[in-house]
């Protein structure tokens, strides 16, 4: 455990190990996303109530999953950075934030598109939509705070603190929005077919979720690698590496 944490301190070691891990996740992401989307969009049976429009689920649900787990991983990375001063964790957190915000937006947008055929409106102040919108604002806050500092060290620590504060608040916000929704608006629409979903619909969804996660890991590894090169650009090993490749 400690040996592993000590190794993580070295950007050079991470750069080497991620070079081997990265292709695995890219291949996994490509295969899973291809299989999942073809199966889900072309072969899975249409929903008996929603028809073909339910197929948005294959983008909507994985994006929503990622949106939430990226924020949690960002906060965990922030904690690791604050406690053990591991720079890699902060670089990864910085690289994750825009992807998390993008995924939150994708899930909101696909939800809006899905809302037109099922609810007959682009936007509803539904509890889940509202908490996702707030999550998007939390992401934008973390990104903006990181960008506002001129000193990179302060920016990293401030963003870590805000991510941790945010992650404590996410469940509170979620439950209070649920409470608010049940209090102010009777459930006029419920998303049907959530509990009982047949295997043929469920399996491609699972594959898509796994594919989205692989894509997230692969992209984060790639972006963290280039961030390592950028931040360590005056170190000897990076110069040697770039010299070699030239």
């Amino acid at each position: 455990m400690w040996a592993f944490i000590n190794k993580l301190r070295s950007p050079k070691w991470f750069y080497a190990i991620s070079a081997r891990l990265q292709p695995v996740f890219w291949v996994a992401a490509a295969v899973l996303l291809l299989v999942g989307s073809v199966w889900g969009l072309a072969f899975a049976p249409a929903d008996y109530q929603q028809g073909n429009s339910f197929r948005i689920i294959y983008v909507h649900v994985p994006a929503a999953f990622l949106a939430q787990s990226i924020f949690v991983s960002m906060a965990v990375a922030g904690l690791v950075y604050m406690v053990w001063k591991i720079k890699i964790a902060d670089m990864a957190a910085a690289m994750m934030a825009p992807l998390g915000a993008a995924m939150t937006f994708v899930s909101l947008f696909s939800g809006a598109v899905w809302g037109v055929p099922t609810w007959g409106t682009w936007w509803m102040w539904d509890a889940r939509l509202t908490s996702m919108l707030i999550l998007l604002f939390l992401y934008l806050g973390v990104i903006a705070l990181r960008g506002a500092f001129t000193s990179r060290d302060s920016a990293s620590r401030a963003a870590s603190v805000l991510a941790m504060v945010g992650v404590i608040n996410i469940p509170i916000i979620k439950y209070s929005v649920d409470w608010w929704y049940t209090l102010h608006q009777p459930a006029t629409f419920t998303i049907t077919g959530r509990a009982a979903m047949p295997m043929e619909m469920w399996a491609p969804l699972l594959i898509m979720v796994l594919g989205f996660y692989s894509f997230f890991i692969a992209l984060t590894l790639m972006r963290t690698r280039s961030e390592i090169l950028r931040r360590e650009s005056n170190k000897r090993w990076v110069r040697e590496l770039i010299g070699e490749e030239r």
């Binding site: 707030i134 903006a144 705070l145 506002a148 302060s154 620590r157 401030a158 603190v161 504060v165 945010g166």
Partner: protein, 247 residues
């Protein structure tokens, strides 16, 4: 010989300071409270501005929406709460700004007393001079919005409880942005999403009081939120201040 004596006296000093912190903390807390109160009372406009802002925003709504008392009465709880929340937000930027500019914030960080506790004293002053006056003023504006009778006490209570949480949560944002020259808009972006649970239960308490049931449950949850904020926020504020000062 004289060297060993001075060595002894250093040891003595240390043992004295080791025994002291219990009393030292209370003294430091009291000093911080009194200093901040005095400073703010000498700049009264800073205390009054959020209140004037509160009244102004409330004036905008009947002009912008409709002067119809029935319509205003239905939206009054939410309006009063949102306007009070924005007024509290407006006053946050100055919470640590003056101390940061004149360097006394650095002195606060250097004191041997626990920083989270000292920060609590500053937040308490902020609540005493913004949250509490807003809560006391809200019923008057409630009359202007023809808020239904019987909800006035709950309105003031919910605001008094809620603004304490708002001050604590907002202080985290203020501490994070105090080192930035133009942190104002960023501060609202950071803090407003975190204010939403307090807004929901605060406005909900007033709604419940109008409907005649369940206001106490809402107030209890507001109290729970405050307890949670009291427990966690001081540490986050202290850590954020350290980041802002070192950066």
């Amino acid at each position: 010989m004289s060297g060993s004596e001075s060595h002894l006296s250093v040891n003595d000093d240390r043992s004295v300071s080791r025994r002291e912190p219990g009393g030292g903390l209370a003294v430091a807390l009291w000093a911080t409270l009194r200093r901040d109160l005095t400073l703010l009372m000498r700049r009264r406009s800073e205390v009054l501005n959020p209140l004037v802002f509160f009244a102004l925003v409330i004036t905008l709504f009947p002009i912008g929406i409709s002067p119809d008392p029935q319509l205003l009465a239905t939206i009054a709880p939410g309006l009063l709460w949102v306007a009070a929340l924005l007024a509290a937000l407006l006053s946050l930027d100055s919470l640590f700004r003056g101390d940061y500019d004149d360097g006394s914030l650095e002195q606060l960080l250097l004191t041997p007393q626990s920083l989270p506790m000292l920060v609590m004293a500053k937040v308490a002053v902020h609540w005493l001079l913004t949250g509490l006056p807003l809560a006391l003023m809200a019923p008057v504006l409630g009359i202007m919005l023809s808020l239904p009778a019987g909800s006035y006490l709950i309105l003031a209570l919910s605001l008094a409880l809620g603004t304490a949480s708002l001050s604590l949560i907002g202080a985290i944002g203020a501490a994070l942005t105090v080192g930035l020259s133009r942190g104002g808009v960023l501060l609202s972006l950071l803090v407003l999403p975190l204010y939403i649970p307090v807004l929901i239960f605060g406005a909900g308490a007033v709604q419940a009081a109008i409907l005649g049931d369940g206001a106490m449950a809402h107030l209890a949850i507001l109290g729970a939120l405050l307890a949670l904020a009291l427990m966690l926020a001081p540490w986050a504020i202290a850590a954020s201040l350290r980041i802002s000062i070192n950066g």
